[in-house]
Symmetry: C3
Subunit: 205 residues, 3 copies
């Protein structure tokens, strides 16, 4: 892809890698929250910081698109990829935020499955962003993300069945359902990111 | 419309008709689930099969768009129509899936009204897809879908009022609300499909 | 901006101002609903009327875009702005509608904070639409809407914490959560409108 030789454009790849790096941090912070006796409000404030850094990277990408004549791929695809990565962070931050806001007691252990899927998706995405330069080795990415999304969906459904299984009262179900739905939305947002990468690949290669 | 004479393009009309046909099957499976003593897990597995066939048709349309130089109408409209039809199936499958997952007892009889609306929308859409070739007789379609969507919305609101009327405990309300909301989303997705057809008509004719 | 001298185009600015005017009325009707002993069903029917007028304006803008050769700015931006304004009204109407449908008793006083934010957003938006002609003084608009959205988000979170704080039973939480979420969605929809204005400004000026 000729553009890789234009220094100005390479900055986009760096910024996407930075954006994906924020998601790796976010998913790890999410995992900390599941630990016994975790200091949730401290974790929530670190999550907010990570989310703010992600916002800044998103805005940096957006303004760069507006001020660059030759972009490595279509402007709308750059926007879609940047906002897709941003959506993941928003949903992860929402899950942490609601856990504190609702003063949830112990989270069901099964939530760890969803968080592990998110950590794996984040790592994969961070490893993949640099490959947008060469457009090589991207197919494994979206195939694996789709596999992870299916696994995450199974966990999500198991947790819903558990919540409605009678062990929780209605208020607790309401609280926990919001949290697991936020995590499920974060996994779905990763799938959208992978789909955007697939579309960019289809156009550019 | 000159394109009707290009054999390669006609395949799109066939695929849209196939996609709408999956929705007719899906809506009928949904109706079976309302019957007294229905074997819900068996019905759910048939619904999953129908949903997988719908996915395959959607992917077939998408890959055909990528590999066709002259499409019968704008690529983004073909995508919008294909994914709109796919959304309907996803919401219908979700309704069946949640009914099994939540181990819901008897479903409120009023849900039959929503399902009848979905069956009618599916049949109408299947009858209408072939008319995209000639772009004739489409207006009746979106007018009738809008009418059906309003009827579906009234049923949805009646059911919500019923659920919160005191006859159900909070956990049951939570379960049933998710199901009727999935059905309402399926009806809304049909309205989006009709809107896409209206936009295609506005551009092409 | 040369287009301001083309009389035909000015109609779009008038229509956007009309659309924003409907939102000012809607937000005020919403505020009436919070008053002690308000006649909610009468208020709900006035809200429906306001929502219908908003729909008509939206359709008028859409059909004008289809029938105009030179539009003041990109067609998709005109659609985005029109449907963004329409979304705000739909969410405000939903909040009123659910309050009547669920036969909610007294609404938590904190809801007034969300409604005040919506009133302020509506007024600001109505004042701003005419400025789309000159593209002057728009930046203050999206900055202030973002500030209001953050304030609205804080109110929303305070109300959620209150709902889950133990003072309400699960059914009441379910009802009130739907209503405050509709109000929060209306505020978010205003933020999207401001974002669309920002994008139009970036392109046109």
């Amino acid at each position: 892809m000729a553009l890789r030789f234009k220094p100005v454009d390479n900055e986009f790849y760096v910024l996407f890698q930075t954006a994906a790096g924020h998601l790796v941090q976010g998913a790890d912070i999410l995992a900390e929250m599941l630990a016994e006796g975790a200091d949730r409000s401290e974790i929530a404030s670190r999550m907010r910081d990570a989310e703010h850094r992600a916002d800044e990277t998103t805005h940096e990408i957006a303004s760069r698109v507006n001020n660059t004549f030759v972009t490595p791929f279509d402007r709308e695809d750059i926007y879609a990829l940047a906002s897709g990565l941003d959506d993941v962070m928003d949903f992860m931050e929402e899950a942490v935020d609601l856990t504190v806001l609702y003063e949830v007691g112990t989270l069901p252990a099964e939530i760890a499955e969803q968080v592990e899927v998110l950590q794996r998706c984040a790592e994969l995405t961070a490893e993949t962003m640099p490959k947008l330069r060469s457009m090589k080795g991207l197919e494994e990415y979206w195939i694996e993300i789709n596999r992870l999304e299916n696994a995450g969906d199974q966990s999500f459904r198991r947790i819903l069945a558990l919540l409605f299984g009678g062990a929780y009262d209605a208020l607790e179900v309401l609280k926990l359902k919001d949290i697991v739905e936020a995590l499920e939305s974060a996994v779905d947002a990763f799938e959208k990111v992978a789909h955007t990468v697939e579309q960019i690949h289809a156009k550019e290669s």
